[in-house]
Symmetry: C2
Subunit: 316 residues, 2 copies
Amino acid sequence: MDVSDLVARVVRGEPRAVARAISLVEDAAPQLRAVMAALAPHTGRARVVGLTGAPGVGKSTCTDALVAALRERDARVAVLAVDPSSPFTGGALLGDRVRMQRHASDTGVFIRSMASRGHLGGLSWATPHALRVLDAAGFDAILVETVGVGQAEVDIAAHADSTLVLVAPGMGDSVQAAKAGVLEIADVFVVNKADRDGARVAVRELRQTVAQTPREPQGWRPPVVSTVAVSGEGIGELVERLDAHERHLRGSGEWRRRRHARAREEVEAIVLHTLRERFGGLSGRADLDRLATEVAAGRLDPYGAADTLLAELAGA
Amino acid sequence: MDVSDLVARVVRGEPRAVARAISLVEDAAPQLRAVMAALAPHTGRARVVGLTGAPGVGKSTCTDALVAALRERDARVAVLAVDPSSPFTGGALLGDRVRMQRHASDTGVFIRSMASRGHLGGLSWATPHALRVLDAAGFDAILVETVGVGQAEVDIAAHADSTLVLVAPGMGDSVQAAKAGVLEIADVFVVNKADRDGARVAVRELRQTVAQTPREPQGWRPPVVSTVAVSGEGIGELVERLDAHERHLRGSGEWRRRRHARAREEVEAIVLHTLRERFGGLSGRADLDRLATEVAAGRLDPYGAADTLLAELAGA
């Protein structure tokens, strides 16, 4: 594989090159770091919107409607669907993608499901890499859709500029769950399937909860938007709210602060992953055993043995 | 401080030098690694016996009686009392030491309480260092006494050749606790205060539990010894059982295996501690912030930033 050719094609936004680069991320391919280095100067422009919520609230339908709305403005849009709960992308996510076929012939839309293949330290590592690829490929907006299962919701918020939390009426305790776990990460609440019974109650309860949550003096108070994503109802308002949030982020300096924090976490994750990998590799090999034998025999002290291992780590 | 002078005096067994070296361990002094390196060739001889059990079972009295019995054979004996539950050695442990005063004028006995001062990653790090000092000082046996509080019991077993678990009748559920948590770590069970009501029941129950526990084919089955440590009753049998355990360890190759595993853990602990300390120091400093700014601006890729930090770690 010619790295510079692949990078040039990614930067031109060629779908096959973008797909190829994301496969490198999934595979933790050795060429990944060269690709990332070459893509870096082309990053920093895309707006990242995370969508999360329990299964069945209509995340994919909502994503689909958002793509259509953003395309009306001629924005180039990428969708990244991540399933942190399974090492391979589950059938549900791939099945949901099928309904996106209406964008299949639209070269301004790129849709991709991503799986963690287990050797990357999970999607916390892979997601920012894939976002860099899509960012460098010139997409104006990247929608990251994830199944809302506990930690995954919080993780997605760490990578996004704005995070949408979706709930639906008649989903049992979904509103309750939204209150409990995701209040801090939601920038916009969406009550989808708003034509169903209980939608008004859900909206009112969420608004009350948001109103009772303490905020920074100039802070953002998450709006609650009602949508019927399948018919497009409320999507216009949702896009307006997202735009308002972006203006708030840029105006308050929070845009810069969030992106700096993300870069910091990305670098830290790579450093810690590298250290663990290097040490894991060593402790599995004969070195540590051999050194321990020397230490047990009194021919070497434990600091000396540790120095030897640390030197190997540094040179590894 | 003259390191080589201190080391020479430790190796000659001078009590004040031994005490000084253990203070270096407690303080995580910078000279520690030079001292450890110089002591290494003099280690590997001492037999390490751990004593653990709930407060009130008579650990200190039993330690005292064991010291007296080992002294009758002219063995040089060190006692290391560790209290993992408090950053400074508590009054109880120091108070218990007072009864050891009968050994105070005996130059063949060294007694020391050790505190974790909190900057060493706990006693898991300090205990093996102190054992190395005492080993190099030529003590034939080192008795490590610890308050039996959960993890501490297991930790002490990791450092000892033989582990005594003490229980006492009439201590509520002490026998029950011994069954539940410490069955794997006990090489010898001691039912102390055996002149009290319930001692026979405690012994019988422990023996039943031991008998029901599956063992390796040639494995060691922990004996249950009754003692009245305060009068010395049963201490002779206890010493015999300990000797039998040592013969078993040496005959089965387990002696070598345990010491190798201990050295391995010691080296690993130092490496991981060093890595964490180096990275902790860096992430607190401006480097990571500065690099994150470059990454966020697209002027640097996260791998490049990670490399810079890793190089600093290696050189730190």
